[in-house]
């Protein structure tokens, strides 16, 4: 079909620069704002590169329908949704296989961080709406959701923070964007952890990676996650330190990660 051979895309050039001009261990810019939806108990808005995400938390509240409640713990109901205009072609608004899966894994990741046993018979409802997406949206959803949970005042062991690592053009890189995810040999690993205890709560891998490559990838992920955590921390504190008057000078509302 293709007459002339397609031009080889160079994902990482000789200077270590990527297609987007980033370095191999550089994150896309992150901006988080806490408390953007007044009707919700807690909320957050996150921009991670081109990804734009709203997260809202309601609860702990009565768990309905009642048979889904647990007398031992609060039930986490995580809903990941993509807006119809969040991708180049129109996305069918019906939740598909992918959304159901992401909702499940993200909910389970957050359940590890929340003190669910403090609120028996209740549910904590987390809704995440992806307004714009460009790879790495499940990690963006998780990052925003954990800020929203903290904003709701729900007791947590730790924040949940993540990034994606992977391979494109034979090189291990961090925080892949869409162009890199579409590489013929692309491997994408979303990884989320509790940053203080270094406990991994979400790890998914599709593609093939050697053991050595994985070790290298993990080594790159850890400092990147620390940067994302810092952005979350600043976003939550900015809500209070921004207060009018008083000695502390207002910090900028969003925090640019990297």
């Amino acid at each position: 079909m293709a007459k002339k051979k397609e031009e080889q895309i160079i994902y990482v050039d000789s200077k270590g620069k990527r297609l987007s001009g980033r370095k191999t261990d550089e994150l896309r810019p992150i901006k988080i704002t806490a408390g953007v939806i007044p009707r919700a108990d807690g909320s957050a808005y996150l921009e991670w590169g081109q990804n734009k995400v709203f997260a809202a938390v309601h609860g702990p509240r009565e768990c309905l329908p009642k048979h889904t409640a647990s007398p031992y713990k609060a039930v986490i109901k995580f809903e990941y949704r993509m807006a119809t205009f969040s991708v180049p072609d129109r996305k069918n608004p019906k939740p598909g296989r992918r959304e159901v899966e992401i909702s499940k894994v993200c909910g389970e990741a957050l359940e590890r961080a929340i003190f669910v046993e403090k609120f028996p018979n209740t549910s904590i409802d987390i809704t995440v709406e992806i307004v714009d997406s460009n790879a790495g949206s499940r990690i963006a959803a998780l990052t925003a959701a954990s800020v929203a949970l903290a904003d709701a005042g729900i007791p947590m062991r730790d924040m949940v923070t993540g990034t994606s690592v992977g391979k494109a053009g034979g090189k291990i890189i961090i925080d892949l964007d869409k162009d890199e995810e579409d590489a013929p040999d692309a491997v994408d690993i979303p990884i989320a952890m509790l940053p203080n205890s270094k406990e991994i709560v979400l790890l998914q891998l599709d593609g093939v990676l050697t053991r050595k490559e994985w070790e290298e990838a993990y080594k790159m992920a850890e400092p990147a996650i620390a940067k994302v955590y810092e952005a979350q921390k600043q976003a939550l504190k900015a809500k209070y330190l921004n207060g009018e008057g008083d000695a502390h000078k207002a910090e900028k509302k969003g925090v640019e990660g990297q």
């Binding site: 509240r61 903290a150 005042g153 729900i154 979350q232 209070y240």
Partner: protein, 223 residues
């Protein structure tokens, strides 16, 4: 700000201390479990949260709204996890959905479900919502903040621990603004002094006429 602001999972102290509220221990160190201000004393560490839902506690006085009527009683929204219930046997007056009552929490079970007692019905007035963790700031030390609010606006005010403030008469618009300001600045020091000044500015130093309708505030409830 004297006190340190922490987020969930942030270290409070590395020393061994008695645990207060909203802290937990991991590997011998004390961490915060919510966003709040650290209260780190010599042998005691706790975090005062800045957000959170109302956790029912025995003997709290709360303000509830009737949401439904059933054969034997009424469903009451108490701004917590579940609605509560008031039996018609304990009431002399007829309530309707939308009626506002104050009640005392007699019992809380392990699911945080409550039993209510000493119910009093309010006539008229309006409700202002506050985050329940900020209610202590609205009341102030020994009611100091509440006195400023009452003095400045001339309203009758009753504060429920569940984050509802009932007010009637006087300058309720000013009260609403003042409470919003308290909520926004709840984490700051010397809030009472600031609010006294704010009230002074807003009212221009004039004492509003205290409307004395204490008699008409409650229905024929108990007490």
């Amino acid at each position: 700000m004297a006190k340190r602001l922490v987020i969930p999972g942030e270290l409070v102290t590395e020393e061994r201390k008695k645990l207060g509220s909203h802290v937990f221990v991991r590997e011998g160190k004390i961490y915060s479990d919510s966003i709040g201000l650290v209260n780190d004393e010599a042998d005691f560490a706790s975090v005062v949260p800045l957000e959170g839902k109302y956790m029912p506690q025995m003997n709290d006085v709360i303000i509830g709204v009737i949401i439904s009527e059933r054969f034997a009683g009424y469903g009451v929204d108490i701004n917590s996890f579940y609605p509560s219930f008031v039996s018609k046997k304990e009431l002399r007056e007829v309530l309707k959905p939308g009626s506002i009552i104050s009640a005392k929490i007699m019992k809380v079970n392990e699911f945080n479900e409550v039993e209510l007692g000493s119910i009093r019905l309010f006539f008229g007035g309006e409700i202002i919502q506050v985050t329940s963790v900020k209610v202590p700031r609205v009341i102030g030390k020994e009611g100091s903040m509440l006195n400023i609010l009452k003095g400045g606006t001339g309203s009758n005010i009753i504060v429920g621990r569940n984050g509802r403030v009932w007010a009637k008469g006087g300058n309720t618009d000013l009260l609403r603004k003042a409470i919003e300001k308290i909520e926004r600045d709840a984490h700051m020091d010397h809030l009472t002094d600031k609010m006294a000044q704010y009230m002074q500015e807003q009212t221009g130093g004039k004492k509003p006429v205290q409307e004395n309708n204490e008699e008409g505030m409650f229905g024929e409830g108990e007490q």
